[in-house]
Symmetry: C2
Amino acid sequence: MLSERQDAILREVVRIFTDTGQPVGSKTLMNALPFHVSSATIRNEMATLEEIGYLEKTHLSSGRVPSINGYRYYLDYLVQPSIVPRDVAKKIDEDFGQTYHQLDDIIERSAKILSHLTSYTAITLGPESSKTLLTGFRIVPLNSHQIMAIIVTSDNNVENNIYTVDDELDSSLIEKFVKIVNDKLVGQPLPKVIEMLHDDVPIILSNYMHSASGLVDMVDDLFQKADSDKYFVDGQLNLLNYADSNDMQEVQSLFSIINQSNDLKKLLDPSSSESGIRVRLGSELGSDALKNYSIITADYDVGHHGKGIIALLGPTTMHYSQLIGLLGEFRTELAKRLIDYYSRYDDS
Amino acid sequence: MLSERQDAILREVVRIFTDTGQPVGSKTLMNALPFHVSSATIRNEMATLEEIGYLEKTHLSSGRVPSINGYRYYLDYLVQPSIVPRDVAKKIDEDFGQTYHQLDDIIERSAKILSHLTSYTAITLGPESSKTLLTGFRIVPLNSHQIMAIIVTSDNNVENNIYTVDDELDSSLIEKFVKIVNDKLVGQPLPKVIEMLHDDVPIILSNYMHSASGLVDMVDDLFQKADSDKYFVDGQLNLLNYADSNDMQEVQSLFSIINQSNDLKKLLDPSSSESGIRVRLGSELGSDALKNYSIITADYDVGHHGKGIIALLGPTTMHYSQLIGLLGEFRTELAKRLIDYYSRYDDS
DNA sequence: GTTAGCACTCCAATATGAATAGTGCTAAAA
DNA sequence: TTTTAGCACTATTCATATTGGAGTGCTAAC
């Protein structure tokens, strides 16, 4: 455990370093600290902090910068969310603006607002979909060889796909199929729906046609789509402002990470079930491209509709206290909006 | 007009400069040219070429690089498409692979193939949509307060939007509306459809309801969407390989240009109705961000289904001869695929 | 019209030196 | 025992030479 004075010094090093981007020396620190000790004392303290592994020198006679461990300690024990100015809170509210017809629109807009507000990259994820239920399934013939299948879920999300069908597929069979899905699967949570779609439905269908699996396999991807998490990313280009301009390779891998929902899933994974705002340093995540970046995740809670995640991706030297404060504000605002949304559209 | 020797020199300067990225000197040139003259002679010729404005020096005693005008001349008179190796042609065919259910899938895939093949940024546009006809219009109720409107066009493209409706909108009225659109507008080209939707349909509708315009206005954006050009961009990140890494600003404007279909429209605009492959130097386009880039456009012809465009965006120092050869191959391959697609799905 | 030769120019890379900002350590003061 | 002043030391950064090399333009001869 560190002494109070060491805490203060570490906190101040982080603050100044995030502001200036320059290593921090003992004299600068002397003038910045709220209490007075000589620069020599500070040098001694910094030497111990370096020994513990919380500070680093860029070269033998330079000032100190926080190490990864130093950041970790800072984030775990020292950072205090700064209070969000009133006009920012107001701006969030204004930016949300209008009312929304689609759940995803709100989540997508959230990413936009966050990235604009912070000039970092924002990633958002809607409320956990394992709690959403199937509420409807339709198939619409488009022309002689194409049909559209549509899924509606309890959070008012709609997904659709278009399929090409050969002539032998009788329209009465399709109607039968739609009826079975609506009768048997509506009201079930999506994972359960997918399970039953493959187990129960073919059995029932086999009464009417000999090869039932074709139809089920065809629409399977649509159900998968409805059940899979949908991430929204905004402000990707902001990464360019912080990227090491000599290492285009790194920028490219970074971009490909945030465009792959599989990778995103790992990044945002709320594995530790603790609720709240967490910061994860990229270097802790093993990925080489993320070495100099970090990610702040916050969950938001929409009651029985589940929890979602909002996140900010930026360089390790982000303004954590500000951003944590902002995310704190934003998550409650977003939850409020979503509760409002659900109450407006929930079938009563 | 230039002498044959001057042509050869300019062509060689372009070739070496694109290969090495370095200014080309008289000695290098002497060894590279297919005929032998001394470096002094070449110096004299280069001096004239510089006077005319086709070559430039980066500083007083450097080798020469092609100027914009030099490139223009090279592209207009000197460049010869290189022959596409057989394995590349084969690779294109393989990459297209499977058969497609949607026209847009083919166009999108084209962008992917092109960008991978060239490691530049590819932009593709489907066949001109003013020739596509409306073939169907559906409205599907999703739940108590949402409906989905669907448009099908003669090129088998499908567009849909979801709308929130208030309770007072009677379902029989909606059916009426759908019937009118299908009776009166199907078979018309899309621009005409949009016109009639606003002129004729409200008049007919007003027999059944007093405020007909609400319904028309609601679905208007869907028809607009179906009629608007849809660009596909792939390999955006390749731009990072050629960008001036000191000027992140430029990279950002570049990205925002290729993500705005309005800007893209200007870039690809086949204003000069001449058919074929054209190269436009970014500096000729006025846009500051494009100063160091150029764009190669090629149209492709699908008979009475209209013409589309494929394009490559890259630095001014692209390998024009190779790329022009490649695009030549690609446009015929794509046209073949599309004709095949149409013949497979055209209602007979 | 072409070429050899030479003086000239600029760049890129390398060294040199001074100024600066920082450190660690020691010995004295609190 | 903790804090401080003072000093020797180190690395970076910036500006300023110094050099070699690649290239040019020009002139005079072929």
